[in-house]
């Protein structure tokens, strides 16, 4: 059974159909890329998956449970976390604190506990700190633990966003243009990084424009244009798909004359 099954999902903003009757599925452990020109509705799909927007129509089943129109917090708890196209770290908080915010829902004590330093407070704080250090070390972030997120180099900020999403306990990571603004060397590093995530057991949906990343890493690719899925398949199939080339580059004059 697929980990995520999206069936006939549409999203309208007033009269504008941002996403129309989209179908796709993601299996456990896959890396799926969603590509398409700007304004095709890719980020809208992420917003629907994470509960930021309600769907107008359709069904989203995650891990056997319908999650469309559920609250954002509920979906995070169910195991979907995301990063953002424009990095949205907590810039004035330290790297380790950013990751600990990811543990938010699993840090189960209240203000009474923290005021009186109850055993429960100590237990969960210890757990949060230790796990945060563990995640950061496992991603080679050890030397940045004390740094404020806003001071990190650009590529590291992208990675920290992913680390923070991992900390929520997510099974499915939605990465929104992680390679945006990176130079070839940085995006090569990111590629390795995402592959490591897959080895760690994460399932990943990727929105990306950098084709060297997309073609190298994806198990399957979905192509979105004007809010519709126009193609799907293996990377090499997509690279040779006429409709995809048209969506990106427009029709050539010869074709248009037909």
């Amino acid at each position: 059974m697929a980990l995520l099954e999206v069936s006939n999902v549409s999203k309208q903003f007033g009269g504008l159909a941002a996403v129309s009757e989209v179908n796709f599925h993601v299996d456990q452990g896959e890396i799926i890329s969603v590509i398409g020109p700007n304004g095709a509705g890719k980020t809208t799909i992420f917003n629907l998956l994470t509960g930021v927007y309600d769907v107008t129509e359709g069904k989203i089943v995650f891990n056997g449970e319908e999650i469309q129109n559920k609250k954002v917090q509920y979906i995070v708890n169910a195991g979907i976390a995301r990063t953002f196209q424009n990095i949205r770290l907590f810039k004035n908080m330290r790297t380790i604190e950013n990751v600990m915010i990811g543990f938010h829902q699993n840090t189960k004590y209240n203000t009474f506990d923290s005021t009186f330093r109850t055993p429960r407070f100590r237990k969960y704080e210890r757990e949060a700190h230790e796990k945060a250090v563990e995640i950061l070390n496992s991603l080679g972030f050890g030397k940045y633990i004390h740094s404020y997120a806003g001071n990190l180099p650009y590529g590291e900020q992208r990675k920290l966003e992913i680390a923070r999403a991992m900390a929520t306990g997510a099974k499915l990571l939605l990465l929104d243009e992680p390679a945006a603004g990176m130079n070839p060397q940085e995006s090569e590093e990111l590629l390795q990084f995402i592959k490591e995530l897959q080895d760690k057991g994460f399932t990943i949906i990727l929105i990306e424009h950098d084709m060297s990343v997309v073609m190298n890493i994806s198990d399957r690719i979905y192509v979105l244009d004007h809010g519709r899925m126009i193609a799907d398949g293996l990377p090499e199939e997509i690279a040779n798909n006429q409709m995809v080339v048209e969506a990106y580059l427009g029709k050539s004059e010869d074709d248009a004359a037909d």
């Binding site: 915010i101 004590y109 203000t111 407070f121 940045y144």
Partner: protein
Amino acid sequence: MDKRDKIVWLVVLVLLVAFPAVGLSRYLQRVSSLIFIYMILALSLNIITGYMGQVSLGHAAFYAIGAYTSSLLSEHFGWNFLLTCLCAVLMTGFIGWLFSIPTMKLSGTYLAIITMGFGEIVKVLIINWESLTHGTYGVQRIARPEFFGVEMKTTNNGMYYLCLVFVVLTVLFCIAIERSKLGRTLRAIKDDPMAASLMGIELSHYKRLAFTISTALAGAAGALYAHLSGYIDANSFNSDVSMMILSIVIFGGMGSIKGMVLGAAILVSFPEVFRFVAEYRFVVYGLILILMMVFRTDGLLGGNSKRPYTFPRFVKVKEGEVKSDGASGGQ
């Protein structure tokens, strides 16, 4: 809290405890107690403004509710200060909680304007609800707090020490907040509410919580003030007071507990210390605020710390696992 901070806090505390030994006049006792009360008010507003990043222009309203609750209960029932103060804290926190419900979706300038309006409403209510508040006559001859038969006065250092104890408790409480999930969460909301929400943080819950805790603390400050001055009316809690509290928070450095304490000490004592320049002191006062904001936008002690993150003592991070590079970051 790291070692250096602890030493600073202890030294300051010892000095403050020893201070009355030099023989304070009633005037000095009153000013010091007032400074303590403003420290509590600033620490209270710091939770909403410093941590969560929301501006309140009507904090005096909650201060007033605390003062009236405590003094009226004391007047009608003759209850002990600890009990009336507790009621003031609960009452103010409750009203703060109610206030936060309709304003939940608001932030920034909109929230600021609403808090200002709320401040005015409370003031008008105090003046016109005569059967409860004695209107413009105010509440008079408010009893001094009494513990085990000893009256806390400005002649026996009682009020000084009572206010100091409240400041210490408030500081400890705020440190506990800062170094817990609540503190982290509020700062995350300040930095990026959208991202915070997508990390599973329920924004409305934390907004309510921050408002409730903050206003409850302001209520305690109000109770202290009423029993310190012995007389309150609507003018004790006008918008100047709200402005003063907000100035301390910004001047001291948003989000910094030390900043609140230092800021209150400086800004409240300033008009007293500079009496010799007479009416010009408020020009100097305004000038200092302007210069501060131009040259030190983070306030006295605000901004991101240069020191490494301090792990709680009960967290054992293995040696060598964390390579400290201070807080400077990668460049």
